[in-house]
Symmetry: C2
Subunit: 244 residues, 2 copies
């Protein structure tokens, strides 16, 4: 009957929304990447669960749509938001191959918002979100986006800053940003947002170049106004600066 | 004792997170813009409430910090996320004038994520968020950001596309985007996300130029790959396009 594409927020914990929790309560079947389904262990008892491994995104979405075609209510779970680099678009895309079903996208707290809250308030002005994964986007396109975003003085939030196959992407991204931005630009990064082992750090853009990020790290690069207040990364919106 | 800067999500309804609800349950005092405090009417009984009108952001944050200095636990509420154009940065900024207090930022579903979910899945690839309000940002800076974001082929999410004092900002923004982007670019906009009167529409960039937006409208402009599937605005991440 229906696929609900559910954003669990970071860690699927206290940042889960009421709507996401209701969808998980009401569904017949929970489908997702193994690690995300595991985040729900011990909760929503009695629900059938099916998980698929990394890089099986198309299989996972087809499975969810096929079960809905069979008449079941399926919750396809995503970490963070279901739209931001999540499965929502792919569910719409694969659904074209099947009889019509209902699709509902249920948003969640994405790592940009969740990580920003841990660091302070880096996203209080215009910002751009860029994934450093070149699995599906040519690196040249990523490079162009970084360069133009830096020139436009957007705050930047970087997803997928590294993985086993591409350990140096963050360093390469910093080198591009350093062409336009001061090495003293205030930056921050958060590991394991909303999960065990959550840790946040601030640094300069020059120092960020040397940080060893992993796939559970979200990185923030400030704009020209971003500053540190009591160790927190803060981008002013301009209320005080206009003279109040 | 503490200021919790709480993102209520769009409409403060079913997209409220568990953490935000807990903060509202546990606080002594709820502070916010009149319209946002009104969204909580009938809930969280027994809490003192104080609201201030539009453009009283600095007063509101000072009030919250001063009450915390007096030993109270204050929830300062924001629509959407508390960080994305919210009050989080300003609370850190004004707190420098007072004895130390605890500040916690509690994220919420921002209009980019909430509106995207209503439209389908427009934000499934790199995107930029730009406010068209020139109250605190020179219009020339907004123009530069739009131009460079268009050149970088970011999906765009536009906040504050219009208000009484600047009814033509969306038209002006479209004219800038049309220098770089096709007039056929898939766009969408959502009014009153998560509230009574929620409505979503899709259109082309050429048509978006003629849309009368208001301050409760959030606008989405697709990238070169964004398409319509069954009336929904969908930006492919690339899973199918890489040949699966």
């Amino acid at each position: 009957m229906r696929v609900s594409v559910v954003g669990l927020g970071p860690g699927a914990g206290q940042d889960l929304t009421g709507r996401a929790a209701a969808a998980l309560e009401e569904c017949d079947l929970i489908v997702g990447y193994t690690a995300y389904v595991a985040l729900l262990e011990g909760r929503f008892p009695g629900k059938e669960r099916r998980s698929t491994g990394m890089r099986r995104e198309v299989d996972r979405c087809r499975m969810a749509v096929e079960e809905a075609v069979r008449g079941r209510d399926v919750a396809l779970v995503c970490s963070g938001d279901s739209g931001v680099y999540g499965m929502a678009a792919l569910v719409y895309e694969v659904s074209r191959d099947y009889p019509p079903i209902e699709i509902e996208v249920i948003p969640g707290i994405t790592a940009a918002c969740g990580g920003a809250a841990v660091l302070g308030a880096p996203l209080t002005h215009d910002f751009a979100v860029v994934s450093l994964s070149d699995l599906m986007t040519p690196w040249a396109a990523i490079e162009t986006r970084l360069e133009l975003a830096a020139r436009a003085d957007f705050v930047l939030c970087l997803y997928n800053p590294a993985s086993r196959g591409r350990p140096d992407h963050l360093k390469r991204a910093c080198d591009i940003l350093l062409r336009e931005k001061s090495p003293e630009t205030v930056c921050g990064y958060v590991r394991n947002i909303g999960r065990a082992g959550e840790e946040a750090h601030t640094c300069t853009l020059a120092q960020l170049r040397e940080v060893e990020a992993d796939m559970f790290t979200t990185v923030f690069v400030g704009n020209r106004q971003t500053t540190l207040i009591g160790g927190k990364m803060v981008t002013p919106r301009g209320y005080l600066q206009r003279g109040e």
